[in-house]
Symmetry: C2
Subunit: 191 residues, 2 copies
Amino acid sequence: MKKSIGARPIVYPTPVFVIGTYDKAGKPNVMTAAWAGICCSSPPCVSVSLRKATYTYGNIMEQRGFTISIPSQDHLKEADYFGMVSGKKEDKFSATGLTPVKSELVNAPYVKEFSLVLECKVIHTYEIGLHTQFVGEILDIKAEEAVVGEDGLPNIEKVKPFLYVPEHRIYYGVGEFLGKAYSVGKAVQGT
Amino acid sequence: MKKSIGARPIVYPTPVFVIGTYDKAGKPNVMTAAWAGICCSSPPCVSVSLRKATYTYGNIMEQRGFTISIPSQDHLKEADYFGMVSGKKEDKFSATGLTPVKSELVNAPYVKEFSLVLECKVIHTYEIGLHTQFVGEILDIKAEEAVVGEDGLPNIEKVKPFLYVPEHRIYYGVGEFLGKAYSVGKAVQGT
């Protein structure tokens, strides 16, 4: 028997992305965002929704580009901190000791110490409600060699990303390998 | 040292959502989608990107509503199957033995056996590229009583959702609790 939970923004899993931008003066900033995900395969695009009140919102409107640095469990506290304070008041790179690196493709910084980074050019801006959705074309992904497998792709077990649970506001890790897509479902087709 | 991986649609984690719709004749259909996520808090909205070639695309354009049933690890093979075949050719509910239930809020069915369900009304349709993005306002979430905690919210450890790894096309479970958001980051602020 199902019961009503109400109209709430809950889905599982929800990502934890660290959005990198420069302000007008060239100061690098990062904030954590969870209302985000891939939204197109060709061109490859990712969407990130932000409130207008954030410093990052203004920076993206100005620069038309951003990065996504995907934190590993090893940087849980830094990623959480990036979502707790505003870049209007704090220099988050200085506070954490992490290093901003300027993207060569967009005018935005990424976090050097994070192993997986997307460089995104804004191609659409959509007003949805409290949040504005930016659609960024993924111009390139850069990964630390240590997390790249023999197939040339990042390995999720080496990247060790984590996920956010809305409403409960807690973090969970990624668990165990369960199976191959477009494959385990053949058990149904065969019936 | 970071190396270029190329322009690809990769982020971690990526969700596995089962999208429920009716066609013109009222036949229930489900498909699996991973290019999706929460995109606004108020009104609570979720975005789902689909190719025009899918049966679900036409159904949503017709009905202006859809459901998202979040599969648990226990239904891994059914969720994978839902992404392998088209509703144009197959009756996926019959093939899996799962049960369509008509939403009382939108003209779309959800999967009775899946413990967490969102009922969504389309409020925006955005053309991005190969994929069209539907923004659905979450009118209600319904959850099996067995997965709802004492706080009235679904418990992710009971829902047991899983995630999709793009490009590798594999599934992973949700791992262990790591910490509280807006809390573990205080360790940085205190420094």
